[in-house]
């Protein structure tokens, strides 16, 4: 059906495109490796001791920024995931007026350029006299994460078979029991995916943070500030560490998802036979 040469064009192109996507990641790895050589002479750039030493360099500025980013990311993720999940459940499971207006309203923060979100919050904090610090960053991050959480969880709620909950009610489960024993466990993968997405968005956000951080440093802000005089290799080491960690998380989620699907399939077959 296909010509033999044209069969290979698309796979070859895709491999090349993916390879180019990887270049800056590889570069960041190699660069951190090379620079630590320069300052440490040894080739063991990625050992645990080296990582502990990262925090001693520059009076711990890199690690402080890094810690701030993690703290902000965790708090904003908890807040946004809670608020967003509640909205997602309500939107799929209940009827109410103005739902299309609500859809639009929830879409708008995602459709607004970050620079506008950042400038808007800065203007608001300025006009009501709120000093910019850790709290204003958390408030800002929670805001832009909510809509993404709604999207991720909503898809999961919509794919949930209502028959399962009906079965629970038929077996005289109370509303709370049905929610805790059936709805919530089934939604959990969606909620976790939303939380991961939200943490990633918060952790890597620079544009909105820059407008609302005052003197507080975050990891991206640290890189921005030191870009003028050269990024220390420690930043590359930390970024590479985050990359590896994120990769492990994603692969684990994918693999466990595949295993789960297989298990469900087996259960399904057992039920049919």
């Amino acid at each position: 059906m296909k010509h033999s040469i044209s069969k290979w064009v698309l796979p070859a192109y895709s491999a090349l495109a993916l390879l180019i996507l990887m270049i800056p990641i590889g570069y960041t790895f190699v660069y951190s490796f090379n620079d630590s050589l320069k300052s440490n002479i040894t080739w063991r750039g990625f050992t645990l001791d080296k990582w502990l030493n990262v925090c001693n360099v520059q009076n711990g500025a890199v690690c402080e920024a890094f810690g701030n980013s993690i703290f902000i990311g965790v708090v904003a993720t908890v807040l946004a995931t809670t608020l967003g999940t509640m909205i997602a459940i309500a939107m799929v499971r209940y009827r109410f007026k103005f739902r299309s207006q609500l859809s639009l309203f929830l879409f708008l923060p995602m459709a607004t350029p970050e620079v506008v979100l950042g400038a808007g919050l800065a203007a608001q904090f300025l006009s009501i006299g709120v000093p910019k610090d850790m709290l204003t960053i958390i408030l800002a991050h929670t805001m832009f994460c909510i809509s993404f959480v709604v999207v991720a969880v909503k898809a999961r709620v919509a794919s949930l078979d209502p028959a399962l909950e009906e079965a629970g009610r038929d077996l005289y489960g109370s509303a709370l029991q049905v929610f805790l024993r059936i709805t919530f466990p089934l939604l959990l993968p969606g909620i976790l995916a939303a939380a991961l997405l939200s943490f990633a968005l918060s952790f890597d956000d620079f544009i909105i943070t820059n407008f609302n951080s005052g003197a507080v440093s975050t990891f991206p802000k640290y890189i921005w500030v030191s870009a003028a005089r050269g990024i220390p290799a420690e930043a590359n080491v930390l970024a590479s560490a985050v990359f590896i960690l994120a990769l492990i998380v994603v692969v684990t989620v994918q693999v466990s998802g595949a295993a789960r699907a297989k298990r469900l399939e087996k259960l399904h077959h057992a039920g049919v036979n």
């Binding site: 698309l10 960041t28 309500a90 109410f96 506008v116 919050l121 898809a155």
Partner: protein, 305 residues
């Protein structure tokens, strides 16, 4: 999976029959909506109010009082029109290239790689992998790769493919390249989600009816993947138009490549000319809203989320 976040076509919603009216809905919705009213809607209003402010009498730099000075808008347009044009020009170009580059890739992952789920997952992980490394660091990596002393640039010059005194960083090319690179995942993921659901039997039907492969692609594949194209275009264009990292002088830009985001940032954080920054933000936001409303008209509001 998190990828679902980038899909516009919502999963088939559960039938309306099980949807019920209940005060519980209000309890679930209220906290989140209230939060967004306070920290999304109210800031937009205060941005609008700020954009009309005038310098306070006897005030310091950065002190402004409420007024209705609409000339703030004509002032920023006459001062920053090149930045405004550049923002949209760069963003449109980057979106175009991202679409051209992403479509075949998404088609391969979503349609051709269906028979090999492992390959499909691996390719998807590679598409989102740039998200896991800092946006700023991966942009800086390109800056190093394109710097005058870099292997790439020196060898291009040695081969006379580049003029000896030419620079790559600080040019429109490097800014557009950076924007395209950074937002390709935002284009590829929604394209992938629609193409992955593409029923190949439609394509077979097309070729059974003696349509050429090109004709099938134009008449069947493209229309069926339209939701992904529209979503990817918006998800790429919006952040690209407002970006100020790629165009910044410390990253891939130069003095002649500054975009709207750069001047909004400068007016807010350096010059403390908040009304000018606010007016520019409102102009950017309005342009985006026009685009989004076209989109809403086209695809309806229920599919937005």
């Amino acid at each position: 999976m998190a990828f679902a976040a980038f899909s516009t076509t919502a999963a088939p919603s559960s039938s309306d029959s099980i949807k019920k009216k209940s005060p519980v809905a209000l309890l679930l919705l209220l906290p989140g909506i209230l939060y967004l009213v306070l920290f999304f809607l109210a800031p937009l209003v205060s941005l609008l109010l700020t954009s009309f402010k005038v310098p306070a009498e006897f005030g310091d730099i950065g002190e402004f009082s409420y007024a209705f000075r609409w000339e703030n808008y004509t002032d920023v347009i006459s001062a920053y029109w090149p930045h405004i044009l550049r923002s949209f020009g760069y963003a449109i170009t980057a979106t175009f290239f991202a679409l051209i580059i992403s479509y075949p890739l998404a088609y391969f992952i979503g349609v051709k790689a269906r028979r090999w789920p492992l390959l499909q997952s691996l390719a998807l992980v590679m598409v989102v992998a740039p998200f896991f490394i800092s946006f700023l660091l991966r942009t800086l990596a390109w800056k190093q790769i394109f710097s005058d002393e870099s292997f790439l640039v020196t060898s291009l010059k040695a081969m006379s493919l580049l003029a000896p005194d030419a620079h790559v960083t600080g040019t429109a090319f490097s800014v557009i390249f950076g924007l395209t690179y950074n937002f390709i995942p935002f284009m590829t993921l929604p394209l992938y989600t629609t193409l992955e659901r593409l029923d190949v039997r439609y394509l077979e039907a097309g070729s059974d009816l003696y349509a050429s492969p090109f004709h099938v692609f134009r008449k069947v594949t493209i229309p069926l993947s339209m939701p992904g194209i529209v979503a990817g275009t918006l998800l790429t264009f919006i952040p690209a138009a407002g970006d100020y990292i790629n165009a910044s002088r410390e990253f891939l830009g130069g003095t002649g490549t500054q975009m709207m985001g750069n001047v909004i940032e400068a007016n807010f954080l350096v010059l403390q000319n908040f009304p000018a920054g606010a007016a520019l933000s409102i102009i950017l936001m309005s342009a985006i809203l026009v685009m989004v409303s076209f989109y809403v008209k086209k695809s309806g509001t229920e599919d937005l989320l």
